[in-house]
Symmetry: C2
Subunit: 431 residues, 2 copies
């Protein structure tokens, strides 16, 4: 498909400048971004006098920007949205989440992942970094929906295995350009030392980065210090876990030495403020990460602990909670947050072709409605996006050149009501 | 207009029960709410065999509930959305907000209030508690838009006067059923003792409740203690300010004695978590208020300090920040938050006819789209509303029986693009 967007404001995320102009998509990639004055060069390069457009979309002055990267989620947990909330964390996990999860199978997770994908699209999310139980059916759901999905293995003492991880690492990095796969594990506190050493060995074998839940709660850090005499970051690093990079989800409780390791190894922090708030885990020291030049990305975490998959709410929380933590209304400005939600996510997820809008990049693009009251007046569009933006402003979500959501409607390729019906049927069958 | 909603889920907010049934609106009021089995009694009472409906709306299983009450805002500050953010509070106020506000006139505030009303409607807000500079043009804007508006005087040492307050109190409580007016003042720290005594005397003359910004920041509380040897709540109460009730906006730093006063006098707390977050003011002790039975309502504050007018974001923040403050994931459950956003607001704003959906109440109603991925599966609808709900789920907003927003479109009575154009023109003229 060749699609021309015109009459657009364009935030490429290469810098804070807004372009007024055009963006052209050819099949899966961006062919042109600019003010339209230099399109002759594009035609010359293609040896064409004109391009036959499948669609020409008048953006009516609305904003094109790179899609958001949801850099930490558990999509299949849509099942448990509002299933058990307002409970202490340990009751929530042990009495509600784990017993239900034990009954979930790959087919169920296939359907529940599709439900999550619908929600990502309404929130302008064009790529997810997903850790959940059945990688093959998650991959199938994402391919069937057209979602870009980076998976990471979540093995622990109780579920998944190193063999599965290695097989998935081999298969899911080559099957489909929408898919990729990282080596990971659930968390230090759910894995034996032997298992962790095996994961580190696998990472060495493939010279691969590793991601995991990391220093999410104070209790987790204290527990690791009791077990190994070191913080989780320091302990895992001592096993060689991060020799080829990677990073951590949550990272609420990193100390200065942990940050040294993140900085020296080029690790990424994926912050999850909605989940950390709802589960009362704490507020991550984002300003300290930024001051050290540590790459920060943003994730929603799973819908059982958030409970939504809304990058706008996360963006507000990243800066708002930093301001509260530091008692400083100037902490972590809006532009930094937008970079985390786009460029920072692409970097953590090893998706360099999705970070900014530029020629040759993947066409993972969203159109933001500025003709809504929460975006007016147009004093400062980046600040509008972070401080007053909402899912309601997402007019279009395109992944790999395919428009999957537009003007409040999903692509006709989906049977949306059937996806809802399935989710309700599954929870009723498991209760 | 007679409007019949059928095939609806209905959360009346009288209790947590959901009704599956119908809601009938006759002119400005609710004529019937129920499962439809008892409508004969309605016809008998009206001595009618049937009702001629102007519209019959198939709700398709979606949710009717009372509209949200935005119990603290400064609508005219839409002008300053994203105008100056990520700055320390004192610079923001003194170098950016005050100089621009000094140049604003009543006509500008008329247009800027209309912009805010558009945003309220997208967020399901059916009544606002507004404090700003020119009460007459704010009232006119709300009447012209069909918005229910409770105003409160914001006099201080620099703007507005006791004479204006008294005149508005006399006029705006009788002009139009959409309008009412409270006696108030900006804050202890912007008013002389003499002015405060005059406000208290006026409240006594009319036996009227009083609202004000109250204990928003630690610095405000410390300043009052230096000036008068007492906390703001205690000092104002000592002047007789709250002898006929009222309450405070923000209330982040109330101590036990302050709470005693709130409890004994039946005062309302209006919490503003978005603003308190963005301006790094702190987290209010909501659980303590609830434990004492103090009425709590929710407000967005003005769009210069939030920066949006989104009750869904506020609802999540009320509970999320309480959970963080108390390090307890069970703090302030979703149902309590929903009550604050509806019933609690009606109580604070003295709008008893708008609190719940019941026969004879004002038809201030919203329709929530459950056929969206963030509302599925339907494990628990109140929790879905608070934890994963979003403005995107607002399918319809009705005030006083008039549908002002439906399926993403505003009533044709508005010229939406002209409202946007005016707001941009005004900010350009004042820069």
């Amino acid at each position: 498909m060749n699609i021309r967007f015109y009459n657009a404001k364009i935030l490429t995320m290469q810098d804070e400048q807004l372009i007024e102009g055009e963006l052209w998509v050819q099949n899966q990639k961006i062919l042109y971004v600019g003010d339209g004055s230099d399109v002759d060069a594009v035609y010359q390069e293609l040896s064409l006098e004109s391009i036959v457009w499948d669609r020409e979309i008048d953006c009516a002055g609305n904003l094109l920007m790179p899609g958001f990267k949801n850099a930490h989620t558990h999509s299949g947990m849509t099942l448990l949205r509002s299933y058990a909330d307002d409970m202490p964390l340990s009751d929530w996990l042990n009495k509600q989440v784990f017993p239900i999860e034990a009954k979930m199978d790959g087919e169920m997770i296939y359907h529940l992942t599709k439900l999550a994908v619908l929600e990502y699209l309404t929130s302008g999310v064009t790529a997810i970094f997903d850790m959940y139980l059945t990688p093959e059916t998650i991959a199938q759901a994402c391919v069937d929906m057209g979602m870009r999905c980076v998976q990471v293995s979540g093995q622990n003492n109780f579920s998944q295995s190193l063999e599965l991880t290695e097989r998935m690492y081999q298969n899911l990095n080559h099957d489909n350009p929408l898919l990729s796969y990282f080596i990971g594990f659930h968390a230090e506190y759910t894995c034996s030392r032997e298992l962790l050493e095996s994961v580190a060995a696998l990472a060495h074998k493939y010279q691969a980065p590793v991601f995991t839940h990391l220093s999410e709660t104070q209790a987790e850090v204290e527990g690791c210090k009791e077990r190994y005499g070191m913080s989780p970051v320091k302990f895992l690093d001592s096993l060689g876990m991060f020799d080829y990079g990677g990073g951590g989800y949550h990272c609420v409780y990193l100390d200065e030495e942990d940050m040294d390791i993140f900085q020296n190894r080029g690790l990424s922090v994926v912050t999850n403020p909605g989940s950390n708030t709802k589960l009362a885990s704490g507020i991550a020291p984002i300003s300290a990460y930024l001051k050290r030049g540590i790459n920060v990305a943003i994730g929603t975490d799973g819908p059982a602990s958030n409970n939504c998959l809304d990058m706008f709410r996360e963006m507000f929380l990243v800066t708002g909670l930093a301001k509260l933590r530091e008692q400083d209304a100037s902490a972590v400005d809006a532009w930094e947050v937008l970079k985390m939600a786009t460029v920072g996510g692409s970097k953590a997820m090893n998706l360099p072709d999705t970070d900014v809008l530029a020629k040759g990049k993947q066409a993972d693009i969203i159109l933001i409605d500025l003709h809504q009251p929460n975006m007016q007046p147009l004093n400062n569009i980046p600040k509008n996006l972070v401080y007053s933006g909402s899912k309601q402003n997402v007019k279009m979500t395109m992944i790999q050149g395919r428009i999957l959501y537009e003007n409040g409607q999903f692509t006709k390729a989906y049977d949306v009501e059937e996806i809802y019906r399935k989710a309700n049927e599954i929870i009723l069958s498991l209760r």
